[in-house]
Chain length 385, copies 4
Amino acid sequence: MDQDYTSYKEYKERKGRDIDSGLTCECGVYGIVTNGDHNSLEIAQMILFGLEALQHRGQESTGMVTSNGTVFHTHKGMGLARNVFNADSMKKLTGNMGIGHTRYSTSAASEQINCQPFVVHSMHGLLSVAHNGELVNAASLRKMVLERGVGLSTRSDSELITQALCLNPPEGEVNGPDWPARIKHLMQLAPLSYSLVIMLKDKIYAVRDPYGNRPLCLGKYPAIEETDDMSSGWVVASESCAFLSFIRYIREVMPGEIIEITEKGIKTVEIVPRPEGHKQAFCIFEYVYFARPNTVFEGQEVYTVRSQCGRQLALEHPLEADIVGSVPESGNAAAYGYSLQSGIPFGELLSKNTYVGRTFIQPNNSLRRLNVALKFSKFFKRIQI
Amino acid sequence: MDQDYTSYKEYKERKGRDIDSGLTCECGVYGIVTNGDHNSLEIAQMILFGLEALQHRGQESTGMVTSNGTVFHTHKGMGLARNVFNADSMKKLTGNMGIGHTRYSTSAASEQINCQPFVVHSMHGLLSVAHNGELVNAASLRKMVLERGVGLSTRSDSELITQALCLNPPEGEVNGPDWPARIKHLMQLAPLSYSLVIMLKDKIYAVRDPYGNRPLCLGKYPAIEETDDMSSGWVVASESCAFLSFIRYIREVMPGEIIEITEKGIKTVEIVPRPEGHKQAFCIFEYVYFARPNTVFEGQEVYTVRSQCGRQLALEHPLEADIVGSVPESGNAAAYGYSLQSGIPFGELLSKNTYVGRTFIQPNNSLRRLNVALKFSKFFKRIQI
Amino acid sequence: MDQDYTSYKEYKERKGRDIDSGLTCECGVYGIVTNGDHNSLEIAQMILFGLEALQHRGQESTGMVTSNGTVFHTHKGMGLARNVFNADSMKKLTGNMGIGHTRYSTSAASEQINCQPFVVHSMHGLLSVAHNGELVNAASLRKMVLERGVGLSTRSDSELITQALCLNPPEGEVNGPDWPARIKHLMQLAPLSYSLVIMLKDKIYAVRDPYGNRPLCLGKYPAIEETDDMSSGWVVASESCAFLSFIRYIREVMPGEIIEITEKGIKTVEIVPRPEGHKQAFCIFEYVYFARPNTVFEGQEVYTVRSQCGRQLALEHPLEADIVGSVPESGNAAAYGYSLQSGIPFGELLSKNTYVGRTFIQPNNSLRRLNVALKFSKFFKRIQI
Amino acid sequence: MDQDYTSYKEYKERKGRDIDSGLTCECGVYGIVTNGDHNSLEIAQMILFGLEALQHRGQESTGMVTSNGTVFHTHKGMGLARNVFNADSMKKLTGNMGIGHTRYSTSAASEQINCQPFVVHSMHGLLSVAHNGELVNAASLRKMVLERGVGLSTRSDSELITQALCLNPPEGEVNGPDWPARIKHLMQLAPLSYSLVIMLKDKIYAVRDPYGNRPLCLGKYPAIEETDDMSSGWVVASESCAFLSFIRYIREVMPGEIIEITEKGIKTVEIVPRPEGHKQAFCIFEYVYFARPNTVFEGQEVYTVRSQCGRQLALEHPLEADIVGSVPESGNAAAYGYSLQSGIPFGELLSKNTYVGRTFIQPNNSLRRLNVALKFSKFFKRIQI
């Protein structure tokens, strides 16, 4: 376990850069509450399916926290869910509810300390938070939390959010174990961007920032109602693809909405508004790059949106050509769309090899030539189709 | 390091089953000889690129042996090349020649002892063998080797081949360090199926079985001749996709051919014939399933062959339909071909999630339903395209 | 990384038991400040020597934090220093000062999250704490910290101390970056037991509780003053045995003393008194069991104290016997003392095998008999000496 | 898994050096056959106790092979038994008989391939060998084995012995599955030095070289005969300390003796004589250094022998002195003996710290001084005793 700790000044500077770069904080979050057996492994299995289905949103680390109403069990680690979880770690993750997280690979450093979900003991019981997004005013929120006398272990927004939820808001506003009020208070302090899944010992709050910048959707488990021994419950996830086919897609969490999920069901406890005059602002990169093609946003399947973009491109920029190709995989749907609209046949022109790439030899002429070669090696000449 | 050892009777029975099942022994082999620096890491880097490009042929284990003309350096391990090799293991793998292997996952057992390439000290120097294929008469060859007084550490054909090459053939046939004669002798004893890459301290033999059942092709490094500091040499690999763009595809190794590769170049030392009346028998599953679409076999790109099969299907079985889909990824090219021939638009109907699948909960009604769900969850309804 | 989180109620109950059991929290702490190169690995090497020499005080986990005046580098892990640190982890641990910790194995759970030293970002810069001891009023201190709105990640006293140091004391008492005042405030809230090594980016505070319950001593580096290229500095450690021979033992840190160590030297900034009427209370188990025989406490070598106890026992309880033996290793010195005083020859009667002991078979008659056997197996009959 | 393979010439040169150095091949061997349950874990537990009790003879690697009469289960790995074996690996090691090995750390290289016991499939069934010793004519034996056409995977004597046992001796001497004859044939080819434990699927052969150079002793399990549910059987081990208290020491295996151990009991099948005129030659370093003090060789406890040497030294070289000390731990018994004979009191003068020692900083003046310091740091001044 390695960790480097640097100064606040350096943090602010890095933070600025990260915001400019724009794409730094892609993650997947998942939460589930069922009325099932509080000592069952079933909950961990459900979360694991969800995390694996969200793995494309982050491969740096994967983690899970389950609750049986009393105790939180956690397991987190660097890497893919398939490597982090095994039979031994799974059998401890009992309960009837839980949350999970897949984290995007940012810098190179091994930062196990940043694995989510975060868990703390608060004055009002155990609290765990999984977060997708990046706080635009993280620096000022961090300053506020530090000034209140909290020591922060990491630079992550997620720990910051967790500690900010623990802090007692100023007198007159809210106090005590009124978690919805604490969440609302935080959302007013920091209006974007995040989708949060917040677990207390007996409930989960699903929260989407007032701008709706990050995705979060709601599902019902099981997909088909039946009268048998199966438990039932509610699920939230960054993308509907995480529902697989055993969870029924219900709707998106609304911008600013705080949904409380318990064994008894779901309840919208608050819809925190945006600052006046501000518009909803869903991240366009979800459509373009992040999301799986079979995910649904705003009533539209991502594949269809991408395909329609391709059709539109063919209408706006018609070309004479023999073949339409794509850079796999994100570009596939758009290329199909262009092909369908234009009548030019689609053909696979690039063969993507996800394994090749690591170089261990020192930079020299040979290596430089190899490196160029590696990029182009993924192409091959199509003689006939 | 775990290993279970069972009886010969059990071995024969298993062997019979394996042969029936037909697809048990898919692997990738790679070999390279250059005139470069004998203490360079470059050779290991080249092999690693090759193994990563052949990883689709086997993910159970990966291994590499390099030679500088005197010493063999080896590194092998369970899992993908990306996990088996790191900066530490790479820096020991110096030399100007080497061979590598990726092994297909068969049963569940952790069998590190079976990682290839095999290396032994023989009376005539060091010997290393990488093998793709399965000996149809393994049981009788094994009996012969054991009767000669050799103890075998594993059940693998690859160790069997290695020890069989060490054994002195009966008087009058061949003896001493005449490796081509030893290889030919073995090929007559065991005519199929294999592609072999056999390394001695200063040369490599590339061998394809007389039936041409398993693929093996030859390339020249670098792809473009230049007059500079770069080394040059020859490469053999299971598939041409392993050449990436810095190795020029030359031709396939012919059925029964033994090619000797040294620093000075290549030489066909023997072409061992098939039994009279027997035909060449290339494994059809290479086209259908195993190979990468951008690999070339018998002068044809695999993608093109698959696509032509789709066109042919459309001619033989025309259908009225709205859309042509495929089970990704092997089926993609055939679906494109059907679409092109029939004029029916192609559309992606299945979203393959390579992560989802492991179940840790005990079989019960819930799990059974989940399992069915998992399979179908990969489908989604296309509303419009 | 696994962790279970339980309720506050359960914590208080466990805490009560731990205090009763008395011996739960044995650890080793180490700190060093030199005027040497701020980018040197030398500091990490010094700390590693110290941690290995203190390893007998705790084998559960080992950790180190170094500072170059700006950045803190940390490396921590479960197990012995020899397993936690290697060339890769060491080369990152640069600086001219640092602290380290070896943690005693308590329960069975893998609790990487509890590895010390702890590091947090505070309003007044980076802060790292290594702690040996156990707070007798941990439960009330914890309640205070939680009520101030801090979320705590662990149940450990060490995190509690770290967060308590960050909190701003009530108005009128102390505020801002006056760390000695913060430390003093904490010592008044929690008067025992601890030895603390607290690092800020450019200084270390060495702190011993007002009762002097836990040991901490001060040394000067190098042991012999010389005029050459070597750096010089000050060291604190749980036991003088950690000074090896290249650090000169100076004195013990006094009960209640706060020593500030910088590049410029050492300064006693405060001596916090005990509550009136309370006596100094050094833990007797340090003499009897914990400490190495060559450590010096209160001006006396531990070996000598143990030996004198044996002499005294011989005076108070003289016996006629053939031989004096000991239960190795803590009992050796006392047995020698008894032998010297009584004239009865010493002989080794027990052969301690540190390896034997783990049982994997299920409890049954055989195992029960084996277990008894194992204990007695360490004895052997001495026929003649 | 790393391995370097070098030439035969280099092997012979190294081999020569090893023999000169004399102490290169210290290991521990263990074997047990019981009439107990063939699917029980009990056998693995017994072997593990034995290997842990023999761990002082070798810490490089540890391994175990068990047999249930049909299948051999193996588990081997680098390092101590405590690290190599865990609940998962143990539960597979079922059977009613088995052998084990602890290997001495020679060079630095990670050589997992050399872990013992070795296992091979032979023409006459499974064969496993554990070996303590070093063949003085290894080079010529190796040449013979290679010339017969066997490929050897390692440089180890143990693989050489295993393959030599598989080879059919020349016509007229012996053939077929007569293992005692094969063992005797090998003992005549290679008369020293070794203690061997050789397992076939239903029996173990315990073999000591004709010179009696390496120790091997025989025990009966359980130590005390009782009429209950417990299994009973026979054990062989390098030292009697491995019997702990649940196995009764019977006698040493005689020089040249081949003992066959089956479920039914033991039988001396052969005593292979030394070359005429040659004397028995037990390794003196067993008494001086290798063996545990509570082991019995030739009817004498090692502790007593060492102590008597100290007494004899006091008689031959009386000195006036204040104190007798020792370099722990091998020297302790001799120092006690000197003290008892001379009347000069014994005192512990050196404090051995087994943890300290590794240096990661580059050689420079500081380090050189540190290194000297480290050696002397283990001493401390005794003021009074």
